[in-house]
């Protein structure tokens, strides 16, 4: 009973699939894996940074830095990691939009991605906005949810190739 892409979007998916950009990426054997590698590297940076900050919020991980401090240092990388991953993700989508229509993992991934991004710009931001040693329960909950969502996006992304 997984969420599925609503059929009303099928024409849009098919338009993307047939577009010159989709065809371009499909046309060369090396392009998709190359774009996918950039996608994965961006994931390493984005999820790596979020992961380290979430660990601090949970009271684990690298003790030399606070979550606030880490967020200050990593913000630039998280921003560009997110931009890169969304851009490359869109390129990958364009090249196989039709396959995504009834792929079991695609809609769940998009839903988790949307939730992860919303969380990132709201509660996560709030949780790392104060440089304080105290760790209220809500920030721990935010950290846990952040981890589950981002790793869920990663796992669902991998699953697209297998389901």
């Amino acid at each position: 009973m997984l969420p599925r892409v609503p059929p009303v979007l099928f024409p849009f998916f098919e338009w993307c699939d047939a577009s010159w950009l989709g065809q371009l990426i499909r046309g060369n054997t090396y392009m998709f894996p190359f774009i996918e590698t950039v996608h994965i590297m961006a994931l390493t940076i984005l999820v790596g940074a979020v992961f380290l900050i979430d660990l601090r919020l949970l009271g684990m991980g690298l003790p030399k830095f606070t979550a606030y401090r880490m967020n200050q240092e990593f913000r630039k990388y998280m921003k560009w990691g997110l931009i890169t991953i969304l851009f490359t993700g869109w390129l990958l989508f364009m090249s196989e939009a039709k396959k995504c229509e009834d792929n079991d993992a695609f809609a769940p991934k998009m839903i988790m991605l949307a939730l992860a991004i919303i969380l990132q710009f709201t509660l996560f931001r709030k949780a790392v906005s104060v440089d304080s040693p105290s760790r209220p329960l809500w920030t721990k909950a935010v950290a846990l949810l952040s981890l589950v969502l981002w790793f869920g996006v990663g796992a669902a992304g991998r699953a697209i190739g297998f389901v």
């Binding site: 054997t29 090396y30 998709f32 894996p33 190359f34 996918e36 590698t37 994965i40 590297m41 994931l43 390493t44 940076i45 999820v47 790596g48 940074a49 992961f51 380290l52 991980g61 690298l62 030399k64 830095f65 240092e73 790793f151 990663g154 796992a155 991998r158 699953a159 297998f162």
Partner: protein
């Protein structure tokens, strides 16, 4: 004395290798873990390499970044090695025949040597250049090389997966 191809064929036909290869769940989970494990291994590695190359966090001592990130990198590397070995074990002949897999292995060895030689060699002198924004050339070269080599490992790995 077996040839490498003979060894790969033997591995492929073992019960374990066959079981992983034919299981619906094992291969996807292993490969997924291998990819997500990159986050733990390469994230901190790149962070350190960026500092070593003088490209980021120039106001932080090199040794502080090193001590902060190394434990995570080691745990990530262990995960990569374990999942990598099992993945290889499940289709050794395909890997043997793949040009990109061979390049990946070479790059892996060079990247590891680069890290090992630096860690046990020049890095011992870190106290003398710890707080400099742009470390000495040897350190910077090790940092750049590391970034380029690991990026190539990931790229070659992806090309292997797509049978290129």
């Amino acid at each position: 004395m077996m040839s490498i191809l003979e060894l790969c064929t033997w591995l492929q036909n073992t019960q374990f290798g066959t079981a992983v290869r034919e299981s619906t769940l094992a291969f996807p989970v292993l490969e997924g873990t291998h990819l997500l494990g990159l986050t733990f291994m390469l994230g901190p590695t790149f962070a350190f390499d960026l500092r070593l190359s003088g490209l980021a966090w120039r106001d932080q001592p090199v040794s502080k970044i090193y001590k902060s990130f190394l434990p995570l990198t080691n745990a990530g590397a262990a995960l990569m090695v374990i999942t990598g070995i099992i993945l290889f074990w499940s289709e050794p002949v395909k890997c043997y025949n793949s040009t990109y897999f061979r390049l990946k292995v070479i790059a892996l060895i060079v990247a590891s040597l680069n890290a090992g030689i630096f860690h046990f060699g020049y890095f011992k002198t870190v106290a003398t250049w710890d707080v400099i924004g742009s470390p000495p050339t040897r350190a910077r070269m090790a940092g750049y090389a590391s970034i380029v080599l690991w990026l190539f490992v990931v790229l070659a790995g992806r090309y292997t997966a797509y049978n290129l």
